[in-house]
Symmetry: C2
Subunit: 242 residues, 2 copies
DNA sequence: TAAATAGTGTCTCTAAGACATTATGTG
DNA sequence: CACATAATGTCTTAGAGACACTATTTA
């Protein structure tokens, strides 16, 4: 059978719904947090879920993810990357739903503006003490997002996305320790980060109880993916969820 | 408005079509090849394309990819991994189509069985001399698949998927050179691969013009992702297409 | 001056790369 | 033996990790 634009029948195949879900991370009080929303309707009423929604027919996946991100947090122009697409037939009881999951990283100094905290149905949770029974397959998605976040930390400058404009080298080290879940040597960390040449010294100091800390700025002109913090033998499950 | 399974209206949102496209690689005559199909219908009639098709409502994405793979090549149980999901609104002139792309690696010794060559509308192309104007956004997908393949080669045992059951160490080195696009030192390659402990010696030798070659087998029990061939400073564009 | 925190220096050891050498087959 | 290809050995050097040390502030 010959077809062209005029004769093509677009509704020949049954179609799934497609959503975009965005796992949004930020740093609060030096701790990694994730944004979750409380579902008010069937299905999974009363469960926390990763924010997301159906795509519009005229927007790209990235655009849909940015739209969701801005709806939830008000932020624009932050790190955003496609994570994985989840499509088990029974993952949503309403109908066949395929979810394209994204990761977003919101800088530490932006967060106050966007989202109310305690009483709202949208909330930042510390990753370490987050609710475990999320709606749908969102536990799987969140765990995968975390594993990807850890993995990418080691060969990208992703960690800088979590920090405010200026920061100390030991704050940066804290982030690496938090996300990698292990202690790093102070001296070696200083050495590596300086050798990499991706930091720019500022004239700022921050006072504290001991010796004041020099503050630094991330040199965005050096590109975003050139810095390799450490290579690991065991990359864990970077490429498949679960 | 309250909802439950009975009252939920599944057709409230307009839905895109979802396809699964599978970039299938193999090794022929020691060279990396990719499988393409010739389109016989509008749109892009007469263009080569990555094999794929619409998903069924009752199968997962992985199942759909395996179904496509088997339809095209007859192989089962090969390496298969989700690559990325492409969803630009205008990427398909028929209707809104979102494509979940996969990579598959077919072992070198299987290929004769599956696909006819010259005269068919399905064909293995050497990656180096493949057609460049593919249908839809398939050039983008294929380039991204190649970049992912190269990148994963360095920290997984992916390369072994391309080889037959038994092989020589220098054949393995050839694959690395092919895909990485650079020469590797023979001695260092021997050293690394032996230290990794992922090969098992067989009693087989293959005769040639010079000294016969020892043949080896891949030790699958050692896990699939533990071997790191080399870490590179420049990971290129591993996480975003283009 | 003691305590607290920031930042530097140095030693060792592993592993990557370059390259030389030996091994084992054929005509 | 000459040639071809396979496989191993060795030397050097860069970099990671461990850890000791110095610097600059406050109480």
């Amino acid at each position: 059978m010959e077809e062209n634009a005029a004769t093509y029948n677009a509704s020949r195949y049954e179609r799934p719904s497609v959503t975009v879900d965005v796992v949004i991370f930020t740093l609060l009080n030096g701790e990694l947090h994730v944004l979750l929303v409380l579902r008010r309707r069937w299905p999974y009423e009363g469960y926390w879920a990763i924010p997301g929604g159906f795509i519009n027919m005229d927007e790209s996946l990235d655009q849909a993810a940015r739209r969701e991100l801005e709806e939830e947090t008000g932020v624009q122009d932050v790190y955003l990357e496609q994570l994985y697409t989840f499509g088990e037939p029974q993952r949503d009881p309403r109908t066949r739903v395929i979810s394209v999951a994204y990761i977003a990283i919101v800088p530490a100094d932006d967060h106050e503006l966007h989202v109310s905290d305690e009483s709202s149905d949208v909330r930042w949770f510390p990753v370490r003490t987050r609710p475990t029974q999320l709606a749908f397959d969102h536990d799987l998605i969140l765990n995968y997002a975390l594993s990807r976040l850890r993995s990418k930390l080691e060969y990208t400058t992703l960690a800088f996305q979590l920090l405010p404009e200026v920061f100390s080298i030991l704050e940066l080290k804290d982030i690496y320790e938090q996300i990698l879940g292990e202690k790093l040597d102070k001296g070696n960390f200083y050495r590596k980060i300086k050798e990499a040449g991706i930091l720019e010294e500022t004239s700022l100091l921050r006072e504290g109880r001991g010796r004041p800390t020099r503050l630094w700025r991330f040199r965005r002109d050096r590109g975003d993916k050139q810095f390799v913090f450490r290579w690991r033998e065991d990359r864990g499950s970077d490429d498949e969820p679960e």
